[in-house]
Amino acid sequence: MGNPRRIVNPHGTGASTQVMAAGIALKPMTRGAVEVSTGQRTEAADQEFSAVVEAHRLQIFRFLLASTRDIDLAETLTQECFLKAHRNWSSFRGDSSAMTWLMRIAINLEKDHWRNRRMQFWRHTRTNSVDLDEASEWLPSGERSAEQQMLAREQVGHVWKAVEGLSGRQRTVFLLRYVEDQELSEIAQATGLSEGTVKAHLSRALGKVRAHLRGKP
């Protein structure tokens, strides 16, 4: 009965069929394994999806937050992303990791949001974007001195400024790489671009970041 669905934990071995999230452990699950009755199957799928939500919600939210710098919008888009994922969960074949699949949905939702906003500019012109300086404030103190903290904050501010000036695609690729630590192949899958194109976008984005860091934007 079709391909067995595998949930791949991107932070684990990469091919695990178990998801450990927030204390929830799922047994290896395939469509055949849960085919006892329709009720049980639905319950198992829901449980499986809940585990995926628990495992990836923060990452999706974080990516959307960095991408939009709007907390409410990031929250809304995250909810929409998981709602859409839940509706289409049965059609997810497990060709890519659940994270890559979710990220693709999030990227498309963000794109749609900006497109709709451009088309319906008279409806909602208010933006809640967090100020760049305010966004740069967030840094774990760790074992740094006050001076190192200040330097780090300054660097982060420059990177934020560079990110603000990137095109939509460059920003997406850059954030997936340097915030979500994704490899080029994963970024290519999530964005639907070829690896070469991803590399080109990343290279341009890094060039702009470098220029900002050197004070020559």
Binding site: L65, P140, Q155, H158, Y178, D181, S203, L206
Partner: protein, 140 residues
């Protein structure tokens, strides 16, 4: 952090040097710290109840405004008609009064003319020769 050998190789290929790498690491820490702080923060959620109440209030206000506009327009129209009726009645009364006055003055003029002609034509018989003389003189 999941930066394996492959990741580092790819970064080297992209020309990420130590300075840029440090900045990117700080940026990553910044976004992670911010994301975790905002993710854990309780947010006010708009309930459906609150939303529906607002929608209902909006509709009610809209209906009241629409009804007010229609009522106002109808009242204004009615008021204008009343004013027009009063003005027409006043015009008609003025016209009638004028016509009556004109009629009365014409009757007076006719009466005076009749009296004049009657008076001028009826000369006493004793004065008849004198009247003839006057008319002959006028002819000459």
């Amino acid at each position: 952090m999941r930066m394996g050998a492959n990741f580092e190789n790819e970064d080297r290929g992209l020309g990420v040097d130590a300075e840029l790498g440090e900045a990117l690491k700080n940026f990553r820490s910044n976004v992670h710290a911010w994301g975790e702080a905002e993710y854990g923060r309780a947010r006010q959620v708009k309930t459906v109840h609150e939303l529906s109440w607002r929608v209902a209030a909006g509709w009610a206000l809209g209906c009241v405004l629409a009804a007010g506009s229609v009522t106002g327009a109808l009242y204004e129209r009615h008021h204008q008609r009343e004013l027009q009726k009063i003005a027409a009645a006043e015009r008609a009364a003025r016209q009638q009064k004028l016509e009556a006055e004109q009629r009365a003055s014409k009757e007076d003029e006719d009466l005076l003319a009749k009296v004049d002609s009657d008076v001028s034509r009826e000369v006493p018989s004793a004065m008849e020769p004198l009247a003839q003389l006057m008319s002959e003189n006028e002819a000459q």
